[in-house]
């Protein structure tokens, strides 16, 4: 055989090997995709699809670099709490996926609700487990005046900010204002708020309406700054995202077989995507999963939202037309409903449920599988909360899948 023939043969063999390898890769990748229906694959890609950059027209300072920087200062500063020891980061530590890992939050006192992680919360529709706030800036204000959290009042918060040179300068520069008016302690007492009971001695009640409005405006600026910072807390791609990206692009993936089985349970037998859908793996709404009928949940949340001075429909919103509270109506079935939590990074955000009653993901799966502790469903007639009756293997698969989110 001549040298040129040998050379051609070698090239053809190489091309053949290359085609075989490419074919193997292509069919292996497609083999994974073919295991799902078109609708299932659509739901899967929606989960891994990165959402558009956050926007909230009610907060003109969202995405504002100086507001983000100042909001970060406020977020980590304990100076604005009553005893100057509690900051937002106390319950939302960065190093622990922006949550405290406790069953219920502990600020100035022990609270009643589990601390949610702050990952991606800028994309929420409602805030708190009961949805009593409709914006992140409105949410950020409430812990200041909650006795179990920071235990302060809006007047005390602004005085504390005014008394710290660093915070005062940052605030006045960002909002192009001057807080020196707070020196008038007759018009602006050291503490007071319309939402905290101080008995007959609540100085807020003696303030002129225009002074109350002024304080509210500055207080809202604090919320908008913190919200601007929280808007930057976006989770990086997960193992699941990398799996979907690889399969979508006909690339090889080392996604665990058990997690793949768990994904199928999530989509099919578990019907989990009824509530856990989209990038956040939540439909951002409220449901009664029969955990506790004694707690008002969304029912109380709606009551508070509708009378809040800081909802998106208020004069403190930078765009009240974006409010959606006119579509919220208090109805009997809201009793016992809680917000569907995001499942992003769910492995790292234990314990679970609004009161942190389940210590592990496995506990949650056991609940949905058997509904052992479920209370009778007396306010709603939903038929989607039924025991899933998962086998031991299915439970493990589902847990493995959830661990990749």
């Amino acid at each position: 055989m001549s040298r040129s023939k040998k050379y051609r043969s070698t090239i053809w063999i190489a091309v053949g090997i290359f085609l075989l390898a490419a074919g193997y890769w292509y069919f292996t990748a497609n083999h994974l995709k073919r295991q799902f229906s078109p609708l299932e694959w659509q739901i899967i890609t929606e989960i891994s699809e990165k959402p558009a950059p956050p926007k909230d027209p009610s907060n003109q300072y969202l995405n504002h670099p100086a507001a983000i920087k100042f909001g970060e200062q406020l977020f980590f500063s304990p100076l604005l709490s009553k005893d100057k020891t509690i900051s937002c980061a106390t319950c939302h530590p960065k190093e622990n996926n922006w949550m405290d890992g406790k069953a219920v939050a502990v600020g100035s006192e022990k609270g009643t609700r589990n601390t949610p992680s702050l990952w991606n919360t800028v994309h929420n529709r409602w805030y708190f487990w009961d949805g009593r706030a409709d914006s992140q800036w409105s949410q950020a204000l409430q812990p200041f005046e909650t006795p179990e959290e920071m235990g302060s009042s809006r007047l005390a918060v602004l005085h504390a900010l005014n008394n710290d040179d660093g915070l005062k300068q940052g605030y006045e520069k960002l909002f192009e204002t001057n807080l020196d008016f707070l020196a008038d302690s007759v018009r602006f007492p050291p503490f007071g708020s319309p939402v905290i009971e101080f008995g007959l001695e609540n100085p807020w009640l003696n303030m002129a309406p225009e002074d109350q409005h002024l304080i509210n405006q500055h207080f809202v600026n604090i919320g908008k700054s913190i919200a601007a910072f929280e808007g930057t807390i976006l989770s990086p791609p997960s193992d699941f995202d990398r799996f979907v990206h690889a399969v979508s692009n006909n690339q090889q993936t080392d996604y665990p077989e058990s997690a793949l089985k768990g994904l199928k349970i999530f989509l099919r037998k578990g019907n989990c995507t009824n509530c856990h859908s989209g990038f956040l793996l939540t439909n951002k709404e409220f449901h009664n999963i029969r955990l506790n009928e004694e707690n008002g949940g969304r029912y109380e949340g709606i009551r508070k939202l509708l009378v809040s001075n800081f909802n998106k429909n208020s004069s403190f919103s930078d765009d009240p037309t974006t409010s959606r509270i006119e579509y919220v109506k208090l109805v009997k079935r809201n009793w016992g409903e809680f917000k569907v939590p995001s499942l992003r990074n769910v492995l790292y955000t234990a314990p679970y449920m609004h009161d942190g009653r389940f210590a592990t993901l496995r506990d949650v799966i056991d609940y949905y599988s058997e509904l052992k502790e479920a209370v009778p469903d007396i306010h709603v007639n939903e038929t989607i909360i039924k025991p899933l009756n998962l086998t031991e293997e299915e439970k493990c698969n589902l847990e493995d899948f959830l661990s990749t989110l």
Partner: protein
């Protein structure tokens, strides 16, 4: 999705089924969506046009719009607001939100001539 909605609408025109609490008038009510393709878990509007020969002098207080998921036993988590539409005898329900995928039934209730009349349209998201 658009084709599917159109065919569903044609089917709803073709059938006239009565129910216990109301009279079905699906063939006399035109239901469209804004945007035309209903966005999943995003707010949208329903545009309603009543047959002028059957419905006379219908005002806002007589109109109500809801949506349910029959197989789930629940509806929307929001209550739409009905306002006058651009054409005569037309209305717009804003604040609709389908927060789950699956089969939904849009329900338009019209209190008319001492009866509660109901038009429905099945939609799959």
């Amino acid at each position: 999705m658009k084709k599917y909605l159109t065919s569903i609408f044609i089917l709803s025109l073709a059938f006239f089924t009565s129910c216990d609490t109301s009279v079905s008038v699906s063939h006399l009510v035109k239901i469209e969506f804004e945007p035309a393709e209903i966005p999943f878990n995003e707010f949208f509007n329903v545009l309603i046009e009543l047959d002028t020969a059957h419905f006379k002098n219908v005002d806002l207080q007589q109109m109500n719009v809801e949506a349910i998921m029959p197989s789930h036993g629940h509806g929307m988590n929001v209550q739409p607001i009905v306002s006058p539409g651009e054409k005569p005898n037309s209305f717009k329900a804003s604040g609709m939100l389908f927060h789950m995928r699956g089969d939904w039934e849009v329900q338009v209730f019209i209190k008319h001539a001492d009866k509660l009349e109901k038009a429905t349209l099945d939609v799959t998201i």
